[in-house]
Amino acid sequence: MKNPPLQQSIDQQSSQAVVLDDPNLSEVVVTLDNVSFGYSYKKLILKDLNLTIRQGEILTLLGPSGCGKSTLLNLIAGFYKPLSGLITHGDEVIKAPANKRGVVFQGNALFDWMTVEQNIGFGFRFQKLPKTESRFRVRQIIDLVGLAGSEKKYPYQLSGGMRQRVAVARSMVVHPEVLLMDEPFAAVDVQTREGLQEELLKLHDQVSGAILFVTHSIEEAVFLSDRIIVLDRDCRGIFEEIKVHLPSPRWSAMNRISEEFNQYRTQLYLKLKELG
């Protein structure tokens, strides 16, 4: 692909220019600095977008279908390059996928020819980690997500919820600094989804990387997030940002029925209504 002229604005200096908008907040992991992107030059999907992902937070992207949430996530993953602007991870410009940025898709991403165990351990094939250590971590995460007893099963023998558990575990086990999740629970039934959300929060508590979560479910966003960003249509950028404070432990089912939860939900509902 021919680089557009705007690409030339990418240089080392601007990658240094990480500004924390709030000194009390923890360190920034990923920064999007005036990022524009389109699949063709004719139609931009994202325009001059600024966004930061901070260490250890769960940040959720909400927004109408087609507003560019997946596109944004794919850009951060390194699957595409921005037409202009800069995406940095730490002090490194993101140019390609790397295992410090995990990705969980909506489905279809497990290796059908590998067992649960082999799927989860896949990332360790490319790391110089002692066998005993990697085995221990695979073992541990299998227990954590409730896959014990299914280690030797193949994906076709698992339910949809179990498969997503494997996908999450496979990405989490290598301890990425950021985990990018694109509607990972959208294809499972409501009960299973709630269980998966609670497990994700517990896993996050243990592994402690940042998570960028894309969903179209307001409830899911409120339950999971420390911060929610609502994206506008037609590349108008960020429409609203909301910080969520709910009592610990976050995975407590009480949080789903609390008054605060309802307030956040109503607030977001009205915001999304405004977008139409």
């Binding site: 790397a98 898709f105 290796f111 094939r125 490319f126 790391q127 076709y156 023998q157």
Partner: protein
């Protein structure tokens, strides 16, 4: 049929045993009809021919065919033992199938993976694809002589093309999410190819191999019909010229038998290798 079975098994049943015995009954029935019907056809064949309802010149009785088969086993056919006829045919088809599969596999993987190679060969394969391989037989004889090479080459070509197209399709059909997931877990291009794209393409590769093998048997017979003095195709051709209908049927049955046997072997192998799809 499928719908009806689904509906029936969805009905509430009294006990677990009922369900189990019903499943067993279904299995036995399927096994039964799959054996009984072919058997019935053979019996009907034997009866109609024995009773003289059909002219034996058009359709000899089974027993006559078996007798002819036995005569061939003991005395050979056209100066060559039956085993040699079988052996030479199988040798041709298996060598061609094996080499063709290797070539088709390599080309298919390259074409599936590299879009430039795919583009380079796109027109060639699209033009070749609809041409029946047999259209090339005289050309192949001209190029490679009337002997073994031209026969093996035409079979090889036919099979390789099929394996190549299926392999290419399999590589291209690998879900993007799997490839991207592997990259985000730290895999490089080679690892993604070996651990993700290749296994994802295996079901399609095996399908291609099975189609190729059955096509190869067809091309074998045709190639041997046209030229040569040995092999099952030659046997059929020779028997036809002399109106030896019994021998003709022996040839036909032998080809059917070895074609089926080869496919069963390949199917078992395929199910062993591609075991992750369930049933």
């Amino acid at each position: 049929m499928l719908l009806k079975t689904a509906w029936r098994s969805a009905r509430p049943k009294g006990r677990v045993q009922d369900l189990q015995s019903q499943a067993l009954r279904e299995k036995l029935t399927i096994l039964g009809v799959s054996i009984l019907i072919p058997l019935a056809i053979l019996v009907a064949w034997e009866l109609t021919t024995r009773l003289g309802w059909v002219d034996p010149l058009f359709l000899p009785s089974l027993s006559e065919i078996v007798a002819e088969f036995w005569a061939m086993v003991t005395k050979g056919y056209a100066g060559t033992s039956l085993l040699s006829h079988i052996f030479i045919s199988l040798q041709r088809v298996y060598i061609a199938f094996f080499v063709g599969t290797v070539i088709g596999l390599l080309l298919g993987l390259l074409m599936g993976y590299y879009k430039y190679i795919r583009a380079a060969f796109y027109l060639v394969t699209e033009v070749l694809r609809p041409i029946p391989p047999l259209a090339f037989i005289t050309l192949f004889i001209l190029w490679f002589g009337i002997g073994e090479v031209s026969k093996v080459m035409i079979i090889l070509y036919a099979g390789a093309l099929i394996v190549m197209l299926n392999t290419m399709a399999g590589v291209q059909a690998c879900p993007k999410e799997k490839i991207l997931a592997a990259y985000t877990l730290g895999a490089n291009d080679l690892a993604v190819f070996l651990y993700v794209i290749l296994p994802a393409a295996l079901p399609s590769i095996f399908t291609g191999m099975r189609v190729a093998l059955s096509v190869d048997f067809g091309i074998l017979v045709a190639a041997e019909l046209l030229a040569g003095d040995q092999g099952l195709g030659y046997l059929i051709h020779d028997a036809s010229t002399f109106f030896n209908v019994e021998a003709l049927f022996v040839g036909i049955f032998l080809i059917g038998f070895f074609g089926l046997l080869s496919d069963v072997v390949l199917r078992v192998l395929s199910n062993r290798v591609v075991h992750w799809q369930g049933h």
